[in-house]
Amino acid sequence: MTTATATIPHGVHHHGPEKGLMRWIKTTNHKDIGSLYMWFAFAMLLIGGALAMGIRAELLQPGMQLMEPQFFNQLTTMHGLIMVFGAIMPAFVGLGNWLIPMMIGAPDMALPRMNNWSFWILPFAGGILLSTFFMEGGAPAFGWTFYAPLSTTFAPDSTDFFIFAVHLLGFSSIMGAINIIATVLNMRAPEMKLMDMPLFVWTWLITSFLLIGAMPVLAGVVTMMLTDRNFGTAFFDATGGGDPVMFQHIFWFFGHPEVYIMILPAFGITSHIIPTFARKPLFGYSSMVYATASIAFLSYIVWAHHMFLTGMPVAGGLYFMYATMLIAVPTGVKVFNWVATMWRGSMTFEAPMLWTLSFVFLFTIGGFSGLMLGIAPADIQYHDTYFVVAHFHYVLVTGALWAIIAATLYWLPKWTGKMYNESLAKIHFWWAVISVNILFFPQHFLGLAGMPRRIPDYSLQFADFNLISSIGGFAFGASFFLLTYIVVDCIRNGKPVSARPWKGAKGLEWTLDAKAPYHSFNTPPSRALIEAESQHSA
Amino acid sequence: MAEFFIIIVIITILVALGFGLIGMLKGGRRGSDRMFKSLVARISLSVFLFLLVMFAAYMGWIEPNPVVFSTSTQK
């Protein structure tokens, strides 16, 4: 029964990976699990992207060309769900798995078996979610926010499978978050103080608190949906004294922290890459930590700014508007610090830096359009238009996804011991950054002109911008083939690198071998090493 | 008034429970002591609350689910 090994002796590389498929199923290794997460997220990104191509193809011209409106709604719904729960969140958990133990001088995650489970739930949950496409009545078609009563009274049978998939994804996220908290707070090198931790670790720690606070609420709200649909409860049914508006309140109590779950780790990544390529220590390390914590706190008390049009007392609207404006302050602190880090730095522009710089610029655009949407009276005009679509794609695609790609390129040499093809990566960057703006920037104009979101057909005056947007969309979609090639080519044929391929890079992970060993740190790093590698040392 | 007091006691119980959790988290002899003391406080408060609710109900200060919302002007 006791299959466990004894403790690892000092400085000895203990058992390597097993062989074959069983390695991946049984693994308790943070690097294996991190890779599994990343590949799963990438597969889901491609599937979700394919759905988006379907959406843009239908919107290429006014009129109905390719599909039934119901199927269009299924595409928008599943695109959102897959991207949020299948691509962005698992990708960040994967990065956290790979990087956090290396960054805090630990051998592995704190609860490795649970770590395995939090990954291995995902393929099953994803499978259940995708299988709804093949069910009678089709996949869920009520938008990724699944507002009642669309998702209760008027939804297809497959909604029950969707609910269980959300439950499973929630389990996975909660277990992942618990693991990261335990790792950061308990496995950290004894000599490393909290304020020595790199910002990616800090942002993930705070994100974990958001996950543990928000995901159970999501589980609660889908459970209420489930009983409303199947057991005759009346949570969201005014006939029985319930209220569909209550659904929105509970959903957005989860939903707003959720958007910060998807962006805080990106802030952390950015705070690593900019100092490296500006060759300066990060400006304002502690203010970054406090800003992250304030954003996380505020994220719990602003949820109803998604509901200005749903209706609420005027005092409520005012409160939620001002609280929302408040988030701009810590976010502004962050952007200021990134720019100040670059100020008079000796900057170079390798691919990870290009992605990060465009992240700062484009995310700020998304942040400002968010401020516009947060103004209650203005939101009456923008609500549920393409302006909203443009806003959240700027923060999620050119924000979260950009940071994930930047991080992948930045740490790929450490993961594989090999360097990717820099010129191809630069071509890919310019291809993606131009096409993504062609894709999403015109959607601002569409929204301001009044084109509603989630519709398969539109009136003629929107035709030109939609055409441009769709062309940009196809170009952006195609860029991912190049990204796949760059990553696979790096793993297969990349040139071997030294342990610290980026000259200005700081952090404990760069003190490990060129290709990080299977167990990161068998002995904790010394105080001198931690200080030398910390983000606030010159 | 009685309701207000009852809610205050519930919040205090939650705080005691929270301190117990922190004690458990710390571990070791001291954490264990802290956890045990907090849990003793929490169970004592809970018994007090139960007696309070029963007494308040007996005295008629609170009624089970009393709310009948006033209907506004008839049209």
């Binding site: 291995w120 | 929490r42 169970i43 139960f50 709310v67 919302f69 209907t71």
Partner: protein, 294 residues
């Protein structure tokens, strides 16, 4: 320097078994609700696999712990893990309490015309917004899900079974505290008797809860009795589910105490389960006060 030796467990099959188990359980559940014949059997199978996984996995952990493979760092990781797991449970219950407060304070008053909102008597003749009695005032109504609302014939009794049950559960908290004290003083026989008392009280609570459900159902208070019935059954139901889990965990702890596990200084398994029981106890107190009384 013993702290500096890290522990990383070997590979494990339990997670994949668990994933397969919960998937079969949920897919079976969904099919059962859609009236598919094999749904129920799949549910049972999935549930059995999950139980098998839990006992296997935790059993392995207990074995490793008893054999002294873990160090104090692993112990602390477990403490962190358990604490934040419980916090996630708190947030899960918070969602349902939030629904209760929202319906109570906002949606039902709104339905009665408060705050210049919709004036409902125009929709349902003679509608009067009341809290527990919401179904009384909307007679003969069919919910949007097509289910006819069940009309309770009387209010939930607060003095009888619920008060008794509260007393039972609080008493179980007291006996558990005695067990805890005895364990810290290394008086094993007392630990065992107090634990037995706790479990018996917990099971008695569950029994009375079932009886209470029977009464309420017979009186017409059902899941389909509008928002009060919904929140009442969902909150008490999830609570009962947690009491069941807690009682099972206490039984495992009892078994381990008999086997001579735990010492006065090191008994995290006991502490975790004890805290869980106290938490479930507090949730019930909240239920008793907010669902039955205030």
């Amino acid at each position: 320097m013993s702290e500096q030796k890290y522990y990383v467990p070997d590979g494990t099959y339990w997670p994949i078994i668990g994933s397969i188990g919960v998937t079969i359980l949920f897919v079976g559940f969904a099919n059962q609700m859609h009236g598919v014949s094999w749904g129920a059997s799949a549910m049972v199978l999935g549930f059995a696999i999950v139980i098998f996984m839990l006992f296997g996995w935790l059993g392995q952990v207990v074995n490793e712990s008893v054999n002294g493979i873990y160090n104090s760092q692993v112990d602390r990781s477990f403490r962190w893990g358990m604490s934040w797991f419980i916090f996630s449970e708190v947030m899960f219950f918070a969602a349902f309490f939030g629904a209760l407060f929202y319906a109570r304070q906002i949606s039902v008053p709104w339905l009665s015309g408060e705050g210049n909102n919709l004036y409902t008597p125009e929709l349902w003749d003679g509608f009067k917004a009341t809290w527990q009695q919401i179904a009384f005032s909307t007679p003969g109504t069919t919910l949007k899900s097509g289910v006819e609302m069940s009309i309770p014939t009387q209010l939930v009794d607060t003095w009888g079974l619920p008060a008794l049950n509260t007393a039972l559960l609080l008493l179980s908290g007291v006996t558990l505290t005695f067990a805890h004290h005895a364990l810290r003083a290394e008086r094993r026989n007392q630990v065992i008797s107090w634990l037995v008392a706790t479990i018996v009280l917990g099971v008695a609570f569950l029994g009375f809860q079932v009886a209470e459900y029977g009464h309420a159902y017979a009186d017409g208070l059902q899941l389909t009795s509008g928002i009060y019935g919904s929140t009442f059954y969902m909150l008490t139901g999830f609570h009962g589910f947690h009491v069941t889990i807690g009682a099972i965990m206490l039984s495992v702890i009892l078994y381990r105490v008999q086997k001579g596990h735990f010492s006065a200084d090191s008994h995290f398994g006991f502490e975790g389960v004890a805290w869980y029981w106290h938490f479930v106890d507090v949730v019930w107190l909240g239920l008793f006060v907010f669902v039955y009384w205030l």
